[in-house]
Amino acid sequence: MNFPPGHPARDTQDTLVVANQERRPLRDRLLLRTHTSPVQMRTMEQQPPPVRIVIPGKVHRNDAADATHSPIFHQVEGLCVDRNITFSDLKGTLDHAMKALFGSAVKTRFFPSFFPFTEPSADVQISCIFCGGKGCRKCKQSGWIELLGCGMVDPAVFAFAQEKQPAYDPKKISGFAFGMGVERIAMMKYGISEMGSLFAGDMRFLGQFV
């Protein structure tokens, strides 16, 4: 989806695949999704705009486990497509979501980034929840913590969806999408240092969240 041939994101070395698929055409081979983005396209192919969805999901990567990596983790993505959806709507929506997650005192700031499915793309930082923005060890003295990626849906993505749903005319509709890692947010919010704790079922760990 909108990756030019030869783009590094097409590399599949981090994808876990189902066995014995070699004889099938490449696009039919079964694998474990490495991100939840395919749901966005599937939804657009299945229904005309407006679309407003939040997609939480488990994803898998062929990654060795360490303090901040796990072969299993979760993502939450969002997609909003309609007439008159703007970049300022994206900003307002995520600002609202971050305040709901981390408290109304939290501020957000956006700056340019690069993702294949969105343009313009942005990284979002929240004011450090540990020091309130004054600067501390957790935020490397910057007062800000980077938390999620987002952007306006690339017209090429709409053009792709248009093949099945003509109403996704990039000249008439617009939309935004965002994605974040659930574990990262949980680790930050609750001071968890090892991602593996989230998947170990240790009663002593889980008992803290009762």
Partner: protein, 718 residues
């Protein structure tokens, strides 16, 4: 990548901010400064940059200076380097581009009688010594340093050859299969027919855009030099670099798109630096170009941009004036675009008034990432500043729809949390052996093609392996009381000819319990959690759903129906409306032993896809009667084959509205009863909503109860 602010300020003497502010302003525009290090009085700062791969044009000092110029509305002077007039030569140097698909431009300049020596600050704009010292860039020789200086300054890869080692002119071509080239890293390489090479008339002298050749490199004895500055195709360079396992500065840039127009400028810079140590130019710059590649780099068709599109995508700004035609023009012009405004009276523009403006935008040769209108909209937003846009919310007039099973899942979850179980997430994979043990249909277990390990070789067909692993983990850590559940999906495949065509993923629930209940303390002596405790929890979960009836049953040992992971006698099937929705019981002692578990582990697995087919139970309140309830007990003697469930159903079948509730009050066994018999005390409560029950009524109810239990084989004790 590292950037010196001293170098930036040499390009832009009018920068109105200090280094810290500059770093912040660049970062907020996507040219991220990750670290700032002060270099001492008069030396400015060193920035550690993190620039996204699409902005390869900004991975050098001049590129960053261009961004700064756009931010502060400064004019960035064009880069030019004055060269002495060349001496004419009889026979000009020849360059031939044979691989017209892969090389868009190749410039060659001949320098004679140069002196190879140590670098210094040669002239204004060529402070090689100073900048290299601040960047901790190793100095090699004036020739090599000149190419590095052009690289760091303007991001353009160049190469210098010892002209006297070249045999004839340059040919850019594909390698011949089996052709050999020793590259600058000292490696002898056998080339592939697809490799792009720079060659002379006899041999390959460099991997084009990747690395030069050993035999033609500059040495202290070099007298005559050929300066190469070229443009190679991204895909050709990537393929060549990959095949040889090389990743160089040059390949990094060419793979992501270099600036075809910068080649002569970089050539001039390298030449000027070399000539500053003596020597002369021979002949004019040889500049071979491929028109087809220029069409898609330096001379691309203009892109149409409308102000209304900028507003449609970007929305509301904090500043009331917002993004105007002038701000669009300023931003894009500063980035190197040329804008030609459409006439204001053009159809569609006039009625928009001040907000109606449109342009044909000519794109700069160094920004191959810009191709479409949306790319220009992004540039406007980026340089304008993302944080100058307001926080607005999309208009929204509808309700929220959750996934069809979301409420059911939430109900199951809250039931188990209330029962004192912690929710856990186990692994998605298990070993093939565990898969075979726990799969409802072992033949349908789905193996992975590239598993993380043998223990994680298949997609879990059941949540039981993960649950057992978590229980064992707790016991190993001396946590003796465990209550866990997992809500997750399980997998089964559909196969034909050994190829998996389809993998089904279905929701399931596992719960596991081991240890004392309640937790032992000074006030409670715990007892071990048992089969009936887990049965109760399973019953609680199931009874959240609306159904005609649920029951639990067991199968004889030889029926082969009880899952192999369960204890043959301490296991039961759960059925809801006649459909199997799960199994529970004690873990098979063999499996417990295999996991070094000594305690009795109780495990349940429910097939939620089946349970979720049922609606959730919606309680409907009844008036609570104000009249006296009356309890009547019935003492029954039963054959062991008659279970409570049979009595329960018989009582329900009576359909006496005044029969408010019934339950087992006591069970006891006595040797004086018949072999296999047991006694059960059934307590029934009668209550009417609107009156006190009369003795005759109660008598009649009692008779009906006695008749009903007699009919199913119970004997009444007197």
């Amino acid at each position: 990548m590292r950037i010196l602010t001293k170098w930036l300020r040499a390009y832009l003497p009018g920068l109105p901010v200090d280094d810290a502010q500059l770093a912040e302003d660049l970062t907020l525009r996507g040219i991220a400064v990750e670290g700032i290090y002060a270099l001492g009085e008069g030396n400015g700062s060193l920035y550690e940059m993190d620039i996204t791969t699409n902005r390869v044009d900004a991975m050098n000092h001049y590129g960053v200076a261009r961004e700064a110029a756009a931010i502060y509305g400064l004019t960035l002077p064009e880069l030019t380097f004055a060269l002495p007039k060349p001496r004419p030569c009889g026979q000009p140097f020849t360059v031939r581009i044979e691989a017209q698909d892969a090389c868009g431009r190749f410039t060659a300049r001949v320098l004679r009688d140069v002196t190879i020596g140590e670098s210094r600050d040669w002239f204004v704009g060529a402070e090689v010594s100073t900048y290299f010292a601040l960047l901790e860039q190793k100095k090699i020789s004036n020739a090599v340093d000149a190419t590095n200086f052009a690289w760091l300054g303007m991001g353009q890869p160049t190469h210098v050859f010892d002209l006297d080692k070249l045999e004839g002119g340059i040919v850019v071509r594909r390698a011949r299969k089996g052709e050999r080239l020793k590259t600058l890293d000292g490696v002898d390489r056998v080339l592939d027919a697809d490799d792009l090479v720079v060659a002379d008339h006899k041999k390959a002298v460099g991997l084009a855009g990747v690395m030069g050749g050993w035999d033609t490199m500059i040495t202290p004895e070099t007298k005559n030099v050929l300066v190469e500055a070229a443009w190679f195709d991204p895909v050709a360079v990537r393929q060549t670099a990959r095949r040889h396992g090389l990743h160089t500065d040059a390949s990094h840039r060419f793979e992501r798109g270099a600036d075809i127009s910068a080649a002569p400028v970089a050539s001039a810079l390298v030449s000027a630096i070399l000539l500053a140590n003596g020597g002369r130019i021979e002949g004019e710059l040889v500049d071979a170009r491929v028109a087809a590649i220029e069409e898609r780099t330096a001379r691309r068709k203009p892109v149409a941009l409308e102000l209304s599109e900028v507003h449609r995508i970007l929305g509301t700004t904090i500043d009331e004036e917002g993004i105007t035609a002038a701000s669009v023009e300023n931003v894009l012009t500063a980035l190197g675009c040329e804008l030609k405004a459409e006439p204001a009276e053009r159809a569609g523009l006039a009625e928009l008034g001040k907000r109606g403006a449109a342009w044909q935008v000519t794109l700069p040769s160094w920004r191959l990432d810009l191709e479409r209108e949306i790319d220009l909209v992004e540039e406007v937003a980026r340089v304008y500043g993302y944080n100058r846009f307001a926080n607005t919310l999309p208009e929204f007039g509808e309700g929220v729809r959750a996934l069809p099973w979301a409420e059911k899942e939430a109900t199951v979850r809250s039931t188990l949390l209330a029962a004192g179980f912690h929710e856990a997430i186990g692994g998605t994979f298990c070993s093939a052996a565990e898969g075979a043990l726990t799969a409802p249909q072992p033949a349908l277990v789905v193996p992975l093609g590239n598993p993380l390990s043998e223990e994680a070789g298949v997609l879990r067909p059941s949540l039981v392996p993960g649950m057992l692993a978590m229980i064992a983990g707790n016991l190993n850590r001396d946590v003796s009381d465990v209550r866990l559940f997992e809500l997750g999906t399980v997998f089964s495949g559909a196969f034909s000819n050994g190829v998996g065509d389809k993998v089904d993923e279905r929701p399931a629930l596992a719960l596991g319990a081991v240890g004392a209940l309640p937790e032992e303390s000074a006030l409670h002596t715990g007892r071990a959690v048992d089969f009936f405790d887990v049965k109760g929890v399973v019953e609680q979960v199931i009874s959240r759903f609306e159904m005609r009836g649920m029951y639990f049953d067991r199968f004889p040992l030889d029926a082969g129906l009880t899952p192999e992971w369960l204890h043959p006698y301490r296991a039961a099937r759960v059925a809801a409306d006649g459909v199997t929705v799960g199994w529970f019981g004690q873990l098979h002692p063999r499996e417990a032993a295999a996991r070094k578990i000594r305690e009795a582990v109780l495990v349940a697995e429910l097939y939620l896809d089946r349970l979720y087919k049922l609606p959730l139970r919606r309680p409907i309140a009844r008036e609570i009667s104000r009249y006296q309830p009356v309890r009547r007990d019935f003492s029954l003697v039963l054959d062991a084959s008659i279970q409570w469930e049979t009595i329960d159903r018989a009582m329900a079948a009576l359909q006496i509205p005044e029969l408010a509730e019934w339950r087992v009050r006591e069970v006891f066994r006595d040797a004086r009863m018949g072999a296999g018999d047991y006694a059960l005390l059934l307590g029934a409560t009668f209550q009417a909503p609107d009156r006190t029950l009369r003795e005759e009524e109660l008598q009649a109810f009692q008779t009906r109860v006695k008749d009903a239990v007699t009919k199913i084989g119970a004997r009444l004790r007197v």
